[in-house]
């Protein structure tokens, strides 16, 4: 077990992912469906995971600097509006820039309130979540209504930045030459586990928006930036022990500001992605649907580390992705069995660590899910909507106590205090 903890983060999460794929494959075989590991499910999962990932990464920058950012949802909302308006008015990439700037402005406001004025971080975040929809609604009533096809609650169609299919892995084009589709070939072989893994992987690299590529690159980039550079070290000092940072002569306020503004920018990018044709192609009031908060949950799940956030985002995005294309409810039904097996595994894991209470709870929930699975054939479609949130709760219930936030996270800091 300790050997597992010594592996580098990306390898560890890769192993977890492999176990997850194995579980899905087994259940698929049991249920005689291929919806759980199909290429389209994987593509949907990725689309839904990217805003969560970006929000979670944003939360990482902010919380590693010691500022809790509940306002990610509001900053994402700003990102959706500015992203849509920028893309429609100036062009797709300008939309991305505008979304980033919009979110960053929200971050600036949050930083101003929490760092300079010392307002409680959560209260400021809640205030921004209240303010942001008001601002976008007002801006919509002033600006969007003047654009043909726009109204107070929605915008005309948003142009996209285009997508890319990775060559070799998924048969993308290099300069007009169609490269071999390795993953596609593997997926078509029907080999247990390997084909499923290949299909899932192919979904991650086929026709992905450039924003997706950007977001995925940000994960290792963040890992390098925050853990291997001087900037990152200073950022983390502000989150762990700002007094120590100040003793070294670091401008704690400046790094907190930078962290929060970056978090706003990333949330804004998430918003821009949501309005891009990759996901919805339009600005709609209320379209963030809590993904900023799920991003926070992904951050907690990932123990405030980039690859963990990615794992959390994919995990929470998966039920969204599967449920979206699941017209007859059979895949969601299979997911119940996945839940049951997963909880049983958690129970075993808890037993090995002598945590009787956890094990009993997990076993009990596992049994409930199993009973539900075997006693019904379809699930009411409400379940598809709430499953992601239930999974977040389950994950937090069992794993929240093993996680370690930055030591000074959420504490207001004033220069000169010890």
């Amino acid at each position: 077990m300790s050997r597992l903890a010594n592996l580098p983060a990306w390898l560890r999460w890769g192993l977890y992912a492999a176990v997850g794929v194995l579980l899905l494959t087994v259940v698929q075989g049991f249920d005689n469906t291929d919806r759980l590991t199909s290429v389209t499910s994987s593509q949907s999962m990725l689309r839904w995971a990217i805003p969560i990932l970006l929000a979670g990464l944003g939360g990482l920058y902010s919380e590693r600097a010691g500022v809790v950012n509940i306002g990610l949802e509001g900053m994402m909302i700003l990102g959706t509006w500015f992203g849509a308006w920028g893309a429609i008015t100036f062009g797709p990439w300008w939309g991305v820039v505008a979304g980033i700037v919009g979110g960053a402005l929200g971050g600036l406001l949050h930083a101003l309130a929490t760092v300079t004025f010392g307002v409680d971080h959560i209260i400021s975040g809640v205030a921004i979540n209240i303010l942001a929809p008001g601002i976008t609604r007002f801006l919509s009533s002033e600006i969007l209504t003047t654009i043909p096809g726009g109204s107070i609650t929605q915008s005309p169609r948003v142009p996209g930045v285009g997508s890319v299919t990775i060559p070799f892995l998924a048969g993308g084009n290099i300069g007009g030459w169609s490269s071999p589709d390795v993953l596609g070939w593997l997926g078509g072989q029907g080999w247990f586990f390997i084909s499923d893994a290949a299909n899932l992987a192919k979904g991650l690299v086929t026709r992905v928006s450039w924003i997706t590529v950007l977001a995925l690159i940000l994960v290792p980039l963040t890992a390098w930036l925050v853990w291997r550079t001087r900037f990152g070290l200073r950022l983390r000092i502000c989150g762990e022990s700002p007094a120590a940072g100040e003793a070294q002569g670091i401008d704690v306020y400046r790094y907190k500001y930078i962290g929060v503004i970056i978090s706003g920018a990333l949330a804004g990018l998430a918003g821009a992605f949501i309005v891009s044709p990759e996901l919805s192609g339009i600005y709609l009031e209320g379209q963030t649907t809590g993904r900023g908060f799920i991003g926070l949950a992904a951050l907690i799940f990932g123990n405030w580390r980039p690859f963990g956030v990615l794992g959390g985002a994919l995990l929470f995005g998966y039920p969204f992705g599967v449920g979206l294309r699941d017209l007859d409810g059979s895949a969601s039904h299979s997911l119940i069995l996945v839940n049951a097996i997963g909880l049983a595994a958690v129970s075993v894991w808890a037993l090995r660590r002598s945590k009787r209470g956890d094990a009993a709870l997990a076993a009990g929930l596992s049994a409930l899910f199993a009973i539900w699975y075997f006693s019904t054939d379809v699930v009411p479609d409400v379940w598809i909507n709430i499953l992601p949130f239930v999974i977040v709760l389950l994950v937090l219930i069992f794993f929240a106590q093993r996680l370690r936030p930055p030591a000074a996270d959420g504490l207001p800091y004033r220069k000169g205090q010890t």
Partner: protein, 374 residues
Amino acid sequence: MKGIPFWRRALLTVAAPVAALIFAVLMSSIVLVISGSSPVQAFSDMFSHASRLETMVDILNRATPLYIAGVAAAIGFRMNLFNIGVEGQFLLAALIAAHLGAMVVLPPVLHVLFILVIAIMVGAAYSGFAGVLKVTRGVNEVISTIMLNAIAISGLVAYLVREWQAGGAIEPGSAQRVGTAPIAPSGLLPDLNTIVEVFTREIRQGKQLTGVLVVAIIVGIGYHVLVNRTRFGFDLRASGINPFAAQVGGVPPKRMVVIAMTLSGAVAGLVGMTEIMHVGFFPANPIRGLGFTGIAVALLGRNHPVGIVFAALIFAFLDVSSGVLQFTGAASREIVVIMQGVIILAAVVAYEIARRAREKEEARAAAEALAVAA
């Protein structure tokens, strides 16, 4: 706080929210001017509209659930617990209470109490669950209440409304939505029009001052008495200000968390009563946003029973009076939403500045006192 004259303390306390209001008005005026409207015209339209009796009834009707939601959030805030889930709690509570309340017919007072008690219990359970998660599993109550909120709002409420639709469950996807079965008249709180009309003229336009206003007043008095005059309230406030000291003083921290969250949810359950008592059933499209606005109201009112009254009235005034802006065309009514957001942000910043000013005052007064004594 010895040494600071009372009037200075009072000034500092009132200065903050007033400054926040002034700042919000200023910011909104700037935004209005930029967008080509006249702030003077807009505000005068809103005020003249609000001076009519019917509008005042509307404002009170709107302020009632906001006040209850504010108290619910404030109970949590007093213990540094953030019950963001007021929205989900009140929707679920109102839905279940309306559904069950329509299934029985009891003598009038009992029937009303039945509905209220169910709403309280549902809200308490939904919120208490988050509290239990916090003390037993260490799940941060912000995330858990937000998730529970999402579960309620994204699917559970809509699903149950469909299942419990008056006249039998309707097919999913069908366009016809009305709401749950109507509650018999014995279960509805009567409106207060007759009492009001004793003092004023007759209320026109069919406006009814909701009887839930009485419930809100009771909730407010209960909140004040509980928090300021009971031992439990003392424990609550102590746990919020300094949990470690409170624990040393004998307050069981985990139990307090669960009780506070449960209490907060219990009050939150009553927020939807205004709408239920008004229309007699739980509509498929209930008024949304009351929960989050309630949080804002609690923040603006600084968790004080009377402060929340003013905050609720201010927010209700903004909500209701914005409607007239559409009539007169003085400004787009969305400016009101920005105003509300700016008020909140400005208020919390102003409170913080005031707190720092007070601390400096205290330090100075203490230093002076020491210097004199030395």
